[in-house]
């Protein structure tokens, strides 16, 4: 398990040329699949700021290795466009249950560095399993309520 908070700001490096594409600035998450679908790059020169998950060869503790210099592309799809517009970040966003209760802000997420699966959301004292993710919007992260809560 990897902490997203700890994985921000590390270099993203192409394995073929050993060139640095930028550093990790965030991630795009598909709430339905409960997976990180792309890494958002900071410190890039151009507008190619998203590396889709399948171009990542290793998500290490100190660097993210990608399969080539061409791994980064422009924001593609709704989740990445939200991140590009500053609305899609999951960290520090308020968390609502689907029954409309604010349970705190997302302090961190833990994910599987092999497949990008979101394992847990850390919301204050709460640990919300990734399967409960319903949406990541401009206003809130929405999670399914605990059984029995509704």
């Amino acid at each position: 398990m990897t902490s997203l908070r700890a994985a921000l700001g590390i270099p993203v490096i192409a394995t073929d040329t050993a060139e640095r594409l930028g550093q990790t600035a965030g991630v795009a998450v598909d709430p339905e699949g409960g997976r990180i679908t792309a890494v958002h790059l900071g410190g890039t020169k151009g507008s190619a700021r998203f590396v889709p998950w399948d171009r990542i060869t290793a998500f290490g503790a100190d660097a993210v290795m990608v399969d080539g210099q061409g791994a980064a592309r422009e924001a593609t799809g709704a989740a990445e466009e939200r991140v590009a517009n500053g609305h899609g970040d999951i960290l520090d966003k308020r968390t609502l249950t689907e029954i409309g209760d604010d349970v705190g802000t997302v302090d961190d997420i833990e994910f599987d560095p092999d497949d990008g699966r979101v394992e847990d959301l850390k919301v204050g004292e709460l640990v919300v399993p990734g399967e409960r993710l319903l949406g990541i919007g401009s206003y809130a992260v929405v999670v399914r309520a605990d059984d029995g809560e509704a």
């Binding site: 609502l96 409309g100 401009s138 509704a150």
Partner: protein
């Protein structure tokens, strides 16, 4: 969080609450709750735009489209759940002011006057359900509010809101535990024993 003790909210506390989709986008905020006192039912919500300079939205939120009412947000499935006023049922497209329940007198069916409605109590959770009235007695002590559970089915009434006399032991002086009082009252009306 102790939701069991706080499963209800005053309708007026919902005013200004954001209307949020399950995808996490805020669409509007609650301008008013449209309530049908004859049937004891919430019909829907009129809406304001989000933000300080909001102003009215022409869209309405019909009750059937409400996913849940929470302490912090009214949840809907998606943006398509808001309907244009022109397409909305007339009761929520253009709620008649005279239907305002605030100030209406609540009496039991054996003729005891319980007070005047100062708020409608709404259940938190899925759907949008009215479960009681907050009443005050202007003649007696206007600061003192009491909470009257509503039966699930209301008799159509005229000028006064008539509730079954069986409500008496379930009237509460505060909202803590009121959700349970509503459940017990309704269970009794159904011939069951209070749980």
């Amino acid at each position: 969080m102790n939701r069991d003790l706080n499963r209800v909210v005053r309708a007026t506390e919902l005013l200004g609450e954001p209307v949020v989709t399950l995808a996490g986008d805020d669409l509007a905020e609650v301008r008013d709750v449209v309530y049908d006192s004859e049937h004891g039912a919430i019909l829907g919500f009129t809406l304001n735009k989000r933000g300080w300079f909001g102003g009215r939205l022409k869209e309405r939120l019909p009750v059937d489209a409400v996913h849940a009412i929470g302490r912090d947000a009214v949840m809907v499935g998606s943006e398509s759940d808001l309907v244009d006023a022109a397409a909305a049922p007339s009761e929520i497209a253009d709620p008649p002011a005279k239907r305002d329940v605030i100030g209406a007198v609540v009496v039991t069916d054996d003729g005891t006057r319980l007070g005047e409605v100062s708020d409608v109590i709404v259940a938190l959770g899925r759907g949008a359900r009215a479960v009681g009235y907050e009443v005050r007695n202007a003649a007696d002590d206007p600061k003192h509010a009491r909470y009257i559970p509503l039966p699930e089915q209301m008799a159509v009434s005229g000028d006064a809101l008539v509730v079954p006399k069986e409500v008496d032991p379930f009237v509460r002086d505060d909202l803590a535990g009121f959700g349970a009082a509503v459940d017990d009252f309704r269970a009794q009306l159904h011939g069951g024993r209070p749980t």
